[in-house]
């Protein structure tokens, strides 16, 4: 399967995560915050992973974040990513606490990034879907 014909793995929406993706379309990255214990998290869950409460709300992130770690793919594990090599995937921690997998863009040589460096949210469109990426702040 060539990169041209490989189906790009777009997120599958369901009742739980639709507000998350909808929010990105509107220019905001959202996360969940527990109404009982106050902890915040991603990815979307039906119960708070800290106190197991089903009472939570969506909250908008300010866009500030830090780089926990990153890797640079030199081989593609999915045909749709062959043309993008090398590309960077990172663990990012939002200022509000939740962590997520993302891409780092606009960094030049990814090997010179530093752990814990400041990042800024950069929402980009991927095959028509708004996704949260980050660039060095």
């Amino acid at each position: 399967m060539s990169a041209e014909t490989a189906e790009f793995p777009l997120p599958r929406r369901d009742a739980l995560n639709t507000p998350y993706w909808q929010s990105l379309e509107e220019g905001h990255l959202s996360f969940q915050r527990c109404g009982e214990c106050g902890k915040a998290w991603l990815p979307p869950r039906r119960e708070c992973p800290h106190c197991l409460s089903p009472e939570w709300r969506w909250e908008r992130a300010g866009g500030q974040a830090r780089l926990v770690s990153w890797v640079v793919y030199h081989i593609a594990y999915h045909a749709a990513f062959k043309d993008r090599l090398p590309y960077t995937v990172a663990v990012v921690e939002l200022a509000e606490g939740p962590r997520l997998i993302s891409n780092i863009v606009g960094a030049g040589d990814p090997e010179v990034l530093r752990i814990d460096q400041d990042l800024r949210l950069a929402i980009e469109h991927e095959h028509g879907v708004a996704v949260p990426r980050f660039r060095p702040a």
Binding site: V68, S69, W70, V71, Y77, F81, R99, I115, V131
Partner: protein
């Protein structure tokens, strides 16, 4: 129960490409050899624990295997903790024996991802797929990068682990990869997911290995030749996915080792040889730290200068490990630990009173520790 349960027999198939063999057939061969090694009749086996083949998940696999082996276990089944499973099953078998639930347990693993399917490796990465987040090596690379950033660990230090395992594998007639590796060759090795290179990654292998577990008392009555006492075991499960893990550079390996060392009544300083799960070089480095062979952050310096090679202070993976003997998820480390304690290893470490074995699974999600002693 320190030392009251033993590993009485070990068995294994060839490692490498074994086309036209099912995992059932590979398990049967390993079990036959382990029973012969222990000198035990199959009819005496009353427990069967099996790790499901990583290459393919199959419901009720434990019963399919028991049927093929002609065993009706009093207790048994399939356990899934990824690569931590084997030690966990041996621990469970030991506790079951100690508590009268069974008397002679067979613990076995077979896998054929090299010539068969790799279906079970194809984890669903969910919504993170949109970012290109696929594959197991990049997960370990994410951890390695953080370790480098926090502690100054270098690629050459990871390379020293690959060099050690490959040297040991080259001396093992049964190893799948018997080609020594120099640090220069390591540096030239292709980058898979930076900072990890191909030679940081384990082999892909077909094969099986099995052990026979029973009480020390039963082994004595049966006249088992070299029963290796199980002195301690422990487990720990980090569980969080890599992205959600509060710390990327330490795992529940620390809790696992603490339990095992307390049970054995020894300290890492007394351990003369170690078999540490080396699916990726970084896993060995972090296990050395989490087990207390060195402090957190010192793992890179610890593995330098041949310290973990044969002849060094703490030889690690003396048969080659996952990087050189076989990519099999973990049982080969246990069988090599047994050989070291019996004094029958290819690269026999002299004067090693204790051997510690680590198993771990997922992307450092699960961990299990086993401490073995010399036959009485």
């Amino acid at each position: 129960m320190r030392g009251r349960v033993v590993i009485a027999g070990i068995g294994q198939t060839q490692f490498g490409a074994l086309p036209d063999r099912t995992t059932i057939s590979l398990n049967a061969e390993a079990v036959r050899k382990a029973l012969a090694d222990a000198g035990v009749e199959k009819s005496a086996v009353d427990a069967l624990f099996v790790k499901f083949p990583t290459s393919r998940f199959e419901a009720m696999y434990g019963q399919t295997l028991a049927g093929a082996l002609g065993i009706q276990p009093r207790i048994g089944g399939v356990w899934d903790q990824g690569g931590a499973t084997n030690i966990s099953m041996i621990s469970f078998a030991a506790m079951a024996i100690e508590n009268g639930q069974c008397e002679i347990a067979v613990v076995t693993l077979a896998d054929n991802p090299k010539t068969g399917t790799r279906q079970a490796y194809e984890k669903a990465w969910g919504e993170d797929e949109v970012f290109g987040w696929f594959g197991v090596p990049p997960g370990y690379a994410m951890i390695a990068r953080r370790h480098m950033g926090e502690f100054g660990t270098t690629s050459d230090q990871l390379g020293a682990i690959a060099v050690a395992c490959r040297r040991h594998g080259a001396a093992n007639p049964g190893a799948q990869l018997r080609k020594k590796l120099t640090l220069d060759e390591y540096r030239q090795s292709r980058i898979i997911a930076s900072p990890l290179r191909r030679d940081d990654c384990c082999l892909v292998s077909d094969g099986a290995a099995a052990v026979v577990v029973m009480s020390a008392e039963r082994a004595r009555r049966l006249g088992v030749k070299a029963p290796v006492p199980i002195l301690g075991f422990g487990q720990g499960q980090t569980s969080w996915e890599v992205a959600q893990r509060p710390s990327l550079t330490s795992t529940m390996a620390a809790a696992s080792a603490k339990t095992a060392f307390a049970m054995a009544g020894i300290t890492p300083r007394q351990v003369g040889v170690a078999q540490l799960y080396d699916c990726f070089t970084i896993a060995v480095l972090m296990t050395l730290e989490d087990y207390g062979f060195c402090t957190k952050g010192e793992g890179g310096r610890f593995v330098e200068g041949g310290r973990i090679e044969f002849g060094g202070e703490l030889p690690v993976n003396t048969a080659g490990g996952l990087l050189s003997e076989t990519g099999m998820p973990g049982m080969q480390l246990i069988t090599e630990g047994v050989r070291q304690m019996r004094g029958t290893a290819s690269l026999q470490v002299p004067r090693a009173e204790f051997c510690v074995v680590s198993n771990q699974g997922g992307i450092m999600h699960t961990h299990s520790t086993l401490i073995l002693g010399q036959p009485a």
